[in-house]
Amino acid sequence: MKSITHDNLLKLLAGLADEGKIVYAPVRKGQKVFFAPVQNMQPVVFDYIQTTESPKLVLFPRYEPLISFEYQGKEVKVDDPSAAAPAERVLFGSRPCDAMALKRLAEFFDRDIPDALIAGRQKALTVISMSCIKADADCFCTSTGSSPGDICGSDILLTPVENNGYAAEILTGKGASIADRCSSLFSEIPEIRKEQYLAKVEKAFSHEEVRKKLSHAFDHDIWNGASLRCIGCGACAFVCPMCSCFDIQEEGTAKKGSRVRCWDSCGFSLFTLHTSGHNPRHNQSERWRQRVMHKFSYQPEAAELTGCVGCGRCSRACPSDMNLKEQLQDIAANVETV
């Protein structure tokens, strides 16, 4: 198998940026780590368990125009961003759970009416992930179908090994094209058992069991107690690598404007407010139930796709300590099986 030293990895990434690819990598801003485009690799950090914001923004940005118009004299110039070829991008430093989330997110946006913008970005994206050698108490990837060294969704997966280097699994054609072009930066090493280097994440619950129990738990008392301390912000949804809800906003004037897609959250009280004034989810327990049900019941039932990869970002970000892992353990333990 292949391996790469730390210095050569930095050279590889710098080379990709020099080729004109947009390289997203984890950088520290204040106390937190975010994915951001980098030109040189000096600010790239490696010592994080998980970034604050997920890498979903490389496929599904915080906001983006879906269509724009501008009057030029009597003519109207219309700009359709999906008509342009998306920029080639490289995501570096995503965790295996993140890579799986990006794959599932792209599948989600490809259902029914395929989303051309997101499909285009996925096609032009190469994912170079980093296995987890450390985890914390909020991680629960092994309960949602991923694991600290899972290859799903990555084009190249690096695993830190001895001597300041990384074992490199070249997993797809996109990964191979980079590894082949930059072959001098890689060396060949004998096959290793990467498991010995990986973090141990104990399985906290079975998502199949949770799914079965949720299928008849809509009216269960568990929702009332669970959501009392939820303050109804969107932190959990906005740091989540799989939350895909968006709102459409019109921006601009009669002369120039855009229709913009913006992230939205089912935790917000006005998320389901109807024009009539009726709100089918008028209290926070109904909104919290929706969050859990959507990820662990509705999506799996509809598309065999669990809407959570166990990255734990929501639990770390929550101002009220709504710990998702704990809540799912509670459901697994306390909701009766019919």
Binding site: K29, G30, Q31, K32, F34, T52, E53, R62, Y63, D136, A137, D138, N224, S227, L228, R229, I231, G232, C233, G234, A235, A237, F238, V239, D247, Q249, E251, V260, C262, W263, S265, F268, S269, L270, N283, Q284, S285, S315, R316, A317, P319, S320, D321, N323, E326
Partner: protein, 266 residues
């Protein structure tokens, strides 16, 4: 803490209150808000230096109000918040029993005058790092300050945790959700983020009691409370408004006095 457990037990056993809003053990060594409804659970309450969140944010939550009369474990900033909520008619006098906690002391405050006396004897005390942050930013030129906030607000993805964590951000329909006309640009681009945070600071000018809950809540780590703290400093020094110390104070931004300065109109 024993005194707190004893007091909560008495309040629930006597039926004086049906729920106590307090802090309990959370995940990963954190504290979390808890809602104690039976005397047997009183010992689940904790009070220590992990307990920063301003619990006054839960007082008017419909699910909590439905439980009956409440008592609340309140640090000094939460007591100021409650005074300010009464002044702004968001809470009626005597509607809640306040268990004011600070270090090892516990005081039960049940009426407006005791709340005011407590709030006035517990002025805003910023931790040293906040004082330094305020001084550092004040020392910057206007252009540098703008750059500082540009860099900070670039991290904002508009989850509105700052708004949700603030007990004084209680509007059922916030200005960002009004779209006829659209006052604030919704996307989290530079303009939208500046519009939102400037609006928030202005709406809290002279009302923010400097509890710091917004900064603690921000998942992106933006020191967002500095904006409202500064707006309140200006309201204090220019217009003489000190929030959270009087239950019948008027508001800096919605009252007019002949002697108000107009030097800002240029």
């Amino acid at each position: 803490m024993q005194a707190l457990h004893q007091k909560v037990k008495e309040l629930l056993e006597s039926g004086k209150v049906q729920v106590v809003i307090g802090y309990g053990e959370g995940s990963g060594g954190k504290s979390r808000p808890v809602f104690i409804r039976s005397a047997a659970d009183a010992a689940k309450l904790v009070w220590d230096d992990r307990c920063h969140q301003n619990l006054a944010v839960y007082i008017n939550k419909p699910e909590i109000k439905k439980m009956g009369k409440a008592a609340i474990v309140a640090h000094p900033a939460a007591v100021r918040t409650i005074v300010q909520m009464i002044a702004e008619h968001q809470l009626s006098s005597g509607a809640i029993i306040v268990l004011a906690v600070e270090n090892d002391t516990l005081e039960e405050l049940t009426d407006n005058s005791s709340l005011e006396v407590y709030a006035q004897s517990h002025p805003v005390l910023f931790p040293p790092f906040v004082v330094k942050e305020i001084e550092d930013i004040a020392a910057l030129s206007a252009a540098e300050r703008f750059e500082f906030w540009q860099n900070e607000l670039e991290k904002c993805f508009k989850c509105y945790a700052c708004r949700a964590a603030c007990p004084l951000c209680y509007c059922e329909r916030c200005i960002v959700e009004c779209n006829q006309p659209q006052w604030v640009s919704v996307p989290s681009h530079a303009q939208g983020n500046f519009e939102w945070h400037m609006n928030r600071a202005m709406h809290l000018a002279g009302r923010c009691v400097s509890c710091g809950s917004c900064t603690i809540a921000c998942p992106a780590g933006i020191p967002i409370g500095l904006l409202t703290i500064e707006a309140s400093r200006i309201a204090r020094t220019e217009f003489g408004f000190e929030p959270g110390i009087s239950c019948d104070a008027s508001s800096a931004m919605s009252s007019f006095r002949n002697e108000d300065k107009e030097t800002f109109i240029q």
